[in-house]
Every structure is written in structure tokens, then in C-alpha cells.
């Protein structure tokens, strides 16, 4: 479901960008080229107009390639925008002064579409496209002033073309932007709903799991109480050990929360449970809630050596996790005599460093990951 919606949003972004390219290309081929060729004799310098058409085409291709690759305008657009404005100036220069506001002067009406493509989906697209369209309008106004065509009819023509062009270009951009923004919002909402579902599901699973473990502990307690009622000696070391182990499990169950645990914590809890089933006395202070996101492979490297130490613990073990926003440290202290240890710290390819130490019949295995 979420994937489908994300796909739709991606298509919105892609096809609206494609739309900008198609409009610019169709305009450029259908109008600009036709006017240049059919009005060849009416230009003062027709070759300049053709050269401007070719430069326009080059900028269009660069913009189209960037849009097809990344879905947004090129990384650096200043030179391209200046080239587009140069097209504008060149066409103005190529037409005869009396044709300044005529149909042959195709440049100033169509370069706006280049600006639309170049600034597409860039972070500051609004100010970029506005600045370009303003520059374009200013250039034309300056050309009118130079050629002395600032009469009422010329000004009216000028305003009509500017208003028409700007409305279409900005309107298309703003419309598409709103469409994409709505699509993205929908994706975020869908993701949040999916995350909620996942959270609810795992919380239910954890709850069920805790009930199951609670049952198991109750059985243990039942058994012990029956033993004591039937005359088992509380002074007997074995009976006392069983009681302590039951109390440890109960204590952890009390301090554990209903929250969805981190995957690293889940693995450790699973191994602690397994150790306790082997009658190993495990102490594990609460692991905390906020573990940072770990890059691929780090979790496995963090867990491997400590879990091996825990799995091989004979009678007792202590499991600790320390975490900061860019550091996670997992440690096990256990009476594990068989664990092969390395005297020097072991550096895993993921960046995790594992240290070993033996002291007084215990082994201390500590794996540490330091983020960037």
C-alpha cells in the first residue's frame, strides 16, 4: 500500500517535470523555429536569430537531461540562465527595430520556459524563476527605450505578452509544485500509518511474549514454593540459587517496558532468556531507550563476540549496553573459561572494535562502535 502510494508520488514528480520539457520543446520547435524560418527575410540579421535558436536548443537539452536524471534542474544554473538571456538579447538585436514587438521577436516570450526547466524542483526555485523573468522583462523594456517605442500601443503590447508569458510559466510551476507537495504529504501520511501499524503489531507481540514469560516464571515460582512446602531446605545452596535466579528474571520483567525494543536489544534479551534457561544467573541493567540507528553490519559485529561469551557462561553473566547518539558499547562479563580471546583489540571491517580481558575466572568482552 505504502509502496504503491510512493510510486504514484514519484510519477507525479516525474511527469510534471517531463511536462515542462515537452512544453518548452514544443514551443521552441513549433513557434520559434517556424517564425525564424518563415520570417527569414524580415530579420535584420537572420543568421543571428538562427544561432540564438541553436543556443536555446542546447540549453534546453542540458536542462532536459538533468530533469530526466535527477527530477530537478541542473546543479549550477547561472551560466545556463545567462545563455538564455543572451538568446533573448540576440533575437532582439536580430529583428528590425519596428519588429521589436512583432511576431518575429520570439526570444523574450519563450526563454521563460527555459527558466522553468532550469529552476525545476530546486530549493530556491521561486526566487530563481522570478529573478529570471524580471531580468527578461527588463531587457525588453530597455530595448524598447533604446529603439524609442515607448508609445501607448507598444507598452500595451508589451504588458500583454509579459502578463501572458509569466502567467503560463509561473502558473504551470506553482500548479505542479502544489500537486507534488500534496502527493508527498500523502506519502508521509501513508508511511506514518504503516509505522503505526507496525508499532501496534510488535507491541502486541511483545505483550504476548511477556505474558508467556510471566507464565513461565510463575511456573518456576510455583515449583520452588511447592519444593519449600514439601520440606526443601532453604539453607540448601541449590534451593537458594534457584530462588535467586527466579528473582532476577522477575526483576528484569518488572523494569522492562512495553515499548518496541531495538533489534540489538531484542537479540540480547533472547540470549539472556536462553542463558537463564540453562540456570545461568544473568544480571542486566535496563538497556535504555534511545539507541542510534546503526549502519549495515554494525549490529551483527557488535553482538557476535559478547553473545558468544554469554552463550558459553557457566553460572553467571552480566550484560550491559551503553549508548550515545554516535556510540554504542555492548559488554558481557561471564565465567566463561572456554572462550578464545584475542590479547589485542579486534577491528571489524564495519568499524566495531572488540576487546577481551580475563581476570579472576571471568572474561570481559566489550564491543564498541563509534559513529562518524
Amino acid at each position: 500500500m505504502t509502496e504503491e502510494i510512493e510510486q504514484i508520488a514519484r510519477r507525479y514528480a516525474r511527469y510534471t517535470a517531463l511536462g515542462a520539457v515537452v512544453i518548452a520543446a514544443v514551443w521552441h520547435l513549433g513557434y520559434d523555429l517556424t517564425v525564424t524560418l518563415t520570417g527569414w527575410s524580415s530579420f535584420r540579421w537572420p543568421v543571428v536569430a538562427l544561432a540564438a535558436w541553436i543556443v536555446y536548443s542546447a540549453v534546453l537539452v542540458v536542462g532536459a537531461l538533468a530533469l530526466s536524471r535527477t527530477g530537478r534542474g541542473p546543479g549550477r544554473i547561472r551560466e545556463l540562465a545567462l545563455a538564455a538571456l543572451a538568446v533573448d538579447v540576440a533575437v532582439i538585436a536580430a529583428v528590425r527595430p519596428e519588429e521589436l514587438l512583432g511576431i518575429s521577436d520570439w526570444g523574450w516570450g519563450s526563454v521563460g520556459w527555459l527558466a522553468v526547466m532550469l529552476s525545476w524542483n530546486r530549493p530556491r526555485w521561486k526566487s530563481e524563476v522570478t529573478a529570471f523573468l524580471a531580468a527578461n522583462a527588463a531587457i525588453m523594456l530597455a530595448a524598447m527605450a533604446v529603439s524609442g517605442s515607448l508609445d501607448r500601443v507598444s507598452i500595451a503590447k508589451y504588458l500583454v505578452v509579459i502578463a501572458g508569458g509569466v502567467t503560463m510559466q509561473l502558473g504551470y510551476m506553482a500548479g505542479c509544485h502544489m500537486l507534488i507537495a500534496r502527493a508527498e504529504e500523502t506519502v508521509l501520511l501513508a508511511r506514518r500509518l504503516a509505522a503505526d501499524d507496525a508499532w501496534r503489531e510488535s507491541a502486541q507481540r511483545i505483550h504476548a511474549d511477556r505474558l508467556r514469560r510471566y507464565e513461565a516464571i510463575r511456573d518456576v515460582a510455583d515449583g520452588l514454593l511447592k519444593q519449600l512446602a514439601n520440606g526443601a531446605d532453604p539453607g540448601d545452596a541449590r534451593v537458594r540459587e534457584d530462588c535467586t535466579a527466579g528473582a532476577m528474571r522477575l526483576r528484569r520483567l518488572i523494569t522492562e517496558r512495553e515499548d518496541v525494543p531495538d533489534e540489538l536489544v531484542s537479540v540480547l534479551r533472547e540470549r539472556i532468556d536462553a542463558a537463564e534457561r540453562r540456570q545461568v544467573l544473568v544480571t542486566a541493567p535496563p538497556f535504555g531507550e534511545r539507541l542510534p540507528d546503526l549502519p549495515d553490519g554494525v549490529r551483527e559485529d557488535l553482538l557476535r563476540a559478547p553473545v558468544r561469551a554469554l552463550d558459553g557462561a557457566r553460572t553467571r553473566a552480566r550484560v550491559t549496553v551503553s549508548a550515545m547518539s554516535t556510540m554504542v558499547s555492548v559488554a558481557v562479563v561471564a565465567d566463561n573459561e572456554d572462550l578464545p580471546i584475542s590479547p589485542a583489540p579486534v577491528r571489524e571491517p564495519s568499524g566495531v572494535v572488540v576487546s577481551y580481558q580475563r581476570q579472576g575466572g571471568e572474561v570481559w568482552v566489550n564491543s564498541v562502535w563509534q559513529g562518524p
Binding site: T255, P285, S322, V333, S355, Q359, W364, N366
Partner: protein, 232 residues
């Protein structure tokens, strides 16, 4: 101050609602212990007014967490040691910030470690139990103390290893130096937190012992109190 304590046993009041824990603690303090339990009750009110060197406080009383009462208890200069199974770093930091002198994790407390912590706190010396080491080392709050890499490493190893001796072996230094790193970190932590009467005593003692110099103790000021240029 430490010498004065030798005159008689250190007196302790205990707030704890589980009789089995009360009995356990009482047995730890039985003679020939240097510590004497002078009062005990299931609520904070039940030991109010009792003069004791140290108040040992369970955080979860009849199902209610009393973290927010620690500040009020410390305000009068009472040394408070929290004794709880809620060893989450956030909880430990909250009670230390409120002025508690130490935090003992119920899960791992032994007679020896508990007595050691009580005696250190009674003498206003820096005491760092493993849950405190973890809480101080992983503090990323805006007013966190500036710990050196070695101090932070010593704290983390102290929390995660078996003993201070193993920390010393891991860091390739003397055990005495490990203690110094850990104690200095505790003093810095106290200095960075909100001023509380008991923390001031700890700082004075730490200066007297040469653990820190007076100019290293910067008393916390709220960010809001600073001028804009200082905040940059």
C-alpha cells in the same frame, strides 16, 4: 570531615516499602558494621524529622515513582542515596541533577558496595556506582560536563567491566589513576548540575583533597541568563 565520622557509626534512615528489602538492608547494617540504621518507613513522611547522616531512598514507593521529591529532600542539606532497580540512565541523571549524592542499583548491590557508597557519601567524597558511571558518561544534555576522553572511557569501562582493576588493565594505567578519573568526572558532573547544598559539600571536599582546583569548578548558569554574544 572524614575524620569526624570516625567518632561514631554513620547513621542511616531508610525509605522502602518492601519488608524483604528492609530486612536485607538491616542485616547488612548489623554489628560490626560502621553504619547504623536509625529509622525506617514505607513513605518519605514516615522518616521526616529524623536526624540521619544519609537517607537511603527507594524510588518506587507503593507503585509511585518519587523522582520529583528528591530535590525537596536534598534542599535542606540532607545527603540522599537512591536505592532502586530503575537504573535507566535518564532516571539516574534525573535524581543526580536533583541533588542526590549517589545511586545504588538494586540489581547488583552487595553489602560491601552498599556500605562503601554510604561511607563515601557520609564523608562528602565523590562516589560513583556503575549505574552512575553509565549515566554520567552518556549524558548528552545541554549542560553536560566537559569530560576528558579518559574520564569518559574510565566511566564506561567501570560500568561495563568487572572491576576497577580490569578498567586499569584495559586502559594500561594504575588502578589509583582510574579512581581519580572516575572521581574527577563525578565532581565535574556535580559542578555542572543545579547547585544543591550536598553538591557544594562534595565540591569543597574535592578541592580540599586536591581532586580539582577551585578554578575548575564552574557553577552552572542557565543559558537564558547569558548574553547573546556568549551564546555564539
Amino acid at each position: 570531615m572524614g575524620q569526624q565520622r570516625l567518632a561514631g557509626p554513620v547513621t542511616v534512615a531508610l525509605v522502602e516499602d518492601h519488608q524483604v528489602v528492609v530486612d536485607g538492608v538491616r542485616s547488612w547494617f548489623g554489628p560490626p558494621s560502621p553504619v547504623e540504621l536509625v529509622a525506617q518507613g514505607p513513605t518519605i513522611e514516615s522518616v521526616r524529622g529524623v536526624a540521619a547522616d544519609v537517607l537511603l531512598l527507594d524510588l518506587n514507593l507503593n507503585g509511585t515513582m518519587v523522582v520529583d521529591r528528591v530535590g525537596e529532600l536534598c534542599a535542606g542539606g540532607q545527603r540522599v542515596i537512591v536505592f532502586s532497580e530503575h537504573e535507566e540512565p535518564e532516571t539516574v541523571r534525573a535524581v543526580l541533577d536533583a541533588g542526590a549524592s549517589a545511586f545504588i542499583g538494586k540489581g547488583r548491590a552487595t553489602r560491601e558496595t552498599c556500605l562503601e557508597t554510604i561511607l563515601e557519601v557520609a564523608a562528602d567524597r565523590p562516589s560513583v556506582t556503575p549505574p552512575m558511571a553509565q549515566a554520567i558518561a552518556t549524558d548528552e544534555g545541554p549542560h553536560r560536563p566537559q569530560l576528558s576522553d579518559k574520564e569518559r572511557a574510565a566511566l564506561l569501562y567501570w560500568f561495563q567491566s568487572m572491576s576497577k582493576a580490569s578498567v586499569a588493565a584495559r586502559m594500561g594505567i594504575k588502578e589509583r589513576t582510574v579512581r581519580q578519573y572516575i572521581d574527577r568526572a563525578r565532581v565535574k558532573y556535580a559542578a555542572a548540575g543545579r547547585p544543591a547544598p550536598t553538591k557544594e559539600k562534595l565540591l569543597i571536599c574535592a578541592i580540599q583533597d586536591g581532586l580539582v582546583r577551585p578554578d575548575e569548578v564552574t557553577v552552572y548558569t542557565s543559558l537564558a541568563a547569558r548574553t547573546p554574544s556568549e551564546q555564539e
